[in-house]
Symmetry: C2
Subunit: 344 residues, 2 copies
């Protein structure tokens, strides 16, 4: 049995779900692959819980039910204001899992954490998009020079292995990636079409059920989808930056627009497009015929159409969801363990 | 620049397309990854063409246009009746690409070729399903014990990276895989629905345009789809064998059945199902409501729905197609090169 030490930074919705999924699945993983996934430290903005030999299943489950920002009170393992250097010194992690929130201005704290991890010989799995969007090349070069992996399938269509699939198409020239990449805005539009409510009402409902955040700017101004296009562009080797993505605000869509569209047999969708042949990237409000395959993807589902020089794919799945995203993070951890840490 | 020697066994439609794709893309791969993919030998049932230092782009293109079973006449490299031992002795391949036809009774010649390759320290990429269906565990154990890879994404939804995606979902418990996995039969059914012709006529048209083979037994009796279910079952770690797949013959579908279905707003589809919870696998003639997502997948497209304990995916793409499948084979070659031969 081989021990793999994992440090988790960030303990919001996905962080909690990740800890829960690990607690439920680590026995299965141990039996199937002969690996103990040991979560040795989990940090939030206020503190850290550290257990050098790894938290057991029951402790992880208890931890996943802590209130926000209270890891430091998780007795007897919680501590206040411990810095990442101390965490690494005590736990010597093989894999760093970065689940802090995205800040597209600074990339922090994810950016510094990820570089610190790589410089201390830990592979990285991140669900935080901002460090990748702002510093992709630097992060990847740092990893490559040390023979380390950085994986991030949870950042785009987070509840699916879409990015893993895309990056495995190495003999293809990816010409076009187009789809519905943001669950919050797709939910809002679906609400507007199905219940004929206006944008504000649909947004409020989305917030009420936790599909939209209190500050929904990143989603409804298209930043989130634009960030995903950037990450896709890096994965397929045709990098663009976020500023070059043309964005329309979803808040411009009125109930009248929806009614007009429906009368004409159309559906309004918020479509992200990366066209590598014409070097265009955009997040736009688009009218699609009702029987268009993207038009039929409703609610919190995401969908993407990929066109390469050789083939075309269409893919539908959950964009996010805590548990789904946590599984994607865990899949990245396992792929690193199986390929890099223990060999296959 | 690193040289990677590749031996190709089997030179039918996919073999030709593979050689063509490599000739078109090897320069791009060399520039992007610093790897020369050198095809050093290509074999068919009558002979082999060998060039120790690797065929150049122009030679590969010429080779791809040879008539069937005439590699031995490809001057000055062609030879008659050379055995695989001699090929390996002369070319020392890193990767073996197996593109021989599927024989579900014996698994040959793929089975022997693949074992020979592994025992001579070559990684294996196969588009031939039969050796996997009949000898999966033996082949994988042989590979594992030698630290070698066997990849086969071209065997299921061959024009897509579906299998690669599925095998990357290691933290998931895959509960159900259901879909249209055979392009020939889906084309026949689509013909019957769209042009209201009977089974025989639709089959003849499929044969005329090269979508069905002269002997269509493997497709219309469900063997091909059943073989794919077996491979999927191994990939997700819940193996079944081909005999345990319940199969209905597509030839039972009459034009009257189609008309009856259409009148009731339904579509007849040939659906493969692997239900790991109830331990059921089948390839069946199924009536689906017209607006069911599988019902809308026509012609030579394949589609699959995957349900796990954590998420659900839906995936549409080309089942086969020479060029598409050749790209999948090439993607497997590249993934082995990047992960195993040169490290990342």
């Amino acid at each position: 049995m081989r021990n793999v030490n994992v440090v988790v930074m960030g303990f919001g919705n996905v962080g909690r779900a990740f800890v829960k999924v690990v607690s439920l699945k680590r026995k299965m993983i141990a039996e199937k692959y002969g690996i103990n996934i040991n979560i040795v430290a989990v940090g939030d903005s206020k503190g850290v819980a550290i257990k050098k030999e790894g938290f057991d299943e029951y402790e992880l489950l208890k931890m996943s039910e802590l209130p926000r920002s209270s890891l430091h009170m998780f007795a007897p393992y919680g501590r206040q204001e411990v810095d990442i250097k101390e965490v690494y010194r005590e736990t010597e992690p093989h894999i760093h899992v970065e689940l802090t929130p995205a800040n597209y201005l600074t990339g922090e704290p994810g950016y510094s954490n990820i570089l610190f991890a790589l410089r201390n010989n830990a592979h990285v799995v991140t669900a935080n998009k901002a460090p990748l969007v702002l510093h992709y090349s630097e992060i990847m070069n740092e990893a490559r020079s040390r023979g380390l992996s950085v994986r991030f399938r949870a950042t785009v269509m987070g509840g699916t292995p879409f990015l893993e699939m895309l990056s495995s198409m190495k003999s293809h020239d990816i010409e076009r990636v187009e789809g519905i990449l943001n669950a919050t805005t797709n939910y809002i539009l679906t609400e507007m079409h199905e219940n004929l409510v206006d944008f504000e009402q649909a947004l409020k409902k989305a917030q009420a059920i936790g599909v939209a955040e209190a500050d929904p700017t990143l989603d409804i101004e298209g930043f989130d989808a634009a960030a995903k296009l950037c990450i896709i562009s890096h994965v397929i080797g045709k990098p663009i930056n976020m500023n070059s993505v043309y964005r329309e605000s979803l808040s411009k869509v009125t109930l009248k627009d929806v009614l007009d569209a429906v009368r004409q047999g159309q559906v309004i969708k918020y479509v992200a497009l990366l066209d590598t042949q014409n070097k265009v990237a955009s997040v736009k409000i688009v009218r699609l015929p009702k029987d268009n395959i993207l038009a039929q993807v409703g609610g919190v589902l995401n969908a993407v159409r990929v066109k390469t020089d050789a083939t075309e794919l269409f893919f539908v799945g959950k964009g996010g969801g805590r548990i789904e995203t946590a599984h994607s993070v865990f899949d990245d951890v396992l792929s690193i363990v199986l390929e890099k840490v223990i060999g296959k």
